[in-house]
Symmetry: C2
Subunit: 192 residues, 2 copies
């Protein structure tokens, strides 16, 4: 029998998203690890942000948000917007910002990949489980994606070029090297 | 203005979960990249699996599933169960399996971390957007977690010990080295 440990919200490796939203007409950013893809076509991404967060106000007001891929050169700023709340500190000047077709989802120009998202569904965790407060899950349709040519290989963002990182246990970790081909190394178990 | 690229389901780095479910009383596994945490307390994890997948039958039948953290030594088998469907191939013998309190969520003994989950909410993507078929999003409460002592530091799974990996663009990538402290490097921007 395996060793039981206290059940917690473990995921390895954990993605990290720099989330942008306009709050009271000004860009605001927060950093979330609770980010995940839920559909390929149309592309849908889910983010979960604690209901008291300042960013949530803007997401609900505009029905839009952005997910900006973290890169190492932005790590200090990405960490900063995860530490301080927009309720107390104006974070509108932390990142150079641009807007896309949705007009209200601020994106960080220097992030290697920006996803511009329109909320299609909101789920409040407190309506699923017995908690007084909880995260709000926003499922967004990725309506546009932006990435400079230098981050692409054959037109697709290339993890080897993004210089992105993962979060775990109060630390940031680099992405390492490629070690195997997916949909390939498992073929050895296929019996003809 | 930044360079637009076709909007797709991009996430960097992408987590990977080996998902276990009993189907018709036998353990079955599939590999998913559409995995994400959505709540800390109680710990909730979301997985999205295409509705035609064999695994979905079992998750809906039992209301349980497992998320097993991938490790490099299991990469070939993890790849294999992502290639072949349980509809055609019996995958019950691929992994050595154990069960926990829920009795119906098979877990891979050799995976460094196993999360035993109870479904608390199911969302069908085809009810959110205009598609004929789509993913089913299962939000699971993590009722138990299992990890051998060698993967822990101070009782908590340690990414430096898990030997886990990420998926991107038909390849598997190692987790790299720690390069910065979260909730720390951003403090330089805090004005006293």
């Amino acid at each position: 029998m395996k060793n039981k440990i206290p059940p917690k919200a473990y995921l390895f490796p954990m993605p990290l998203g720099l989330i942008g939203a306009n709050v009271n007409g000004k860009p605001n950013f927060e950093t979330l690890a609770y980010v995940g893809i839920v559909e390929a076509q149309p592309p849908l991404i889910s983010i979960a942000s604690y209901e008291t967060h300042y960013t949530n106000i803007g997401i609900k007001e505009n029905g839009t948000f952005s997910v900006n891929t973290p890169s190492e050169d932005l790590a200090e700023k990405i960490d900063y917007v995860g530490i301080v709340s927009g309720k107390e500190i104006d974070k509108s000047e932390v990142f150079e910002v641009f807007y896309g077709d949705l007009k209200t989802a601020p994106m960080a120009s220097l992030s290697p990949l920006n996803l511009e998202c329109e909320v299609i569904k909101t789920i409040k965790v407190k309506e699923l489980v017995d908690v007084e407060k909880g995260h709000e899950i926003f499922i967004g349709k990725i309506v546009n994606a932006y990435a400079d040519e230098k981050y692409l290989t054959e037109g697709i963002p290339d993890i080897a070029k993004l210089n992105t990182f993962t979060y775990s246990r109060n630390n940031y970790w680099k992405v390492g090297e490629k070690f195997a081909s997916a949909f390939e190394i498992g073929k050895k178990y296929i019996k003809e």
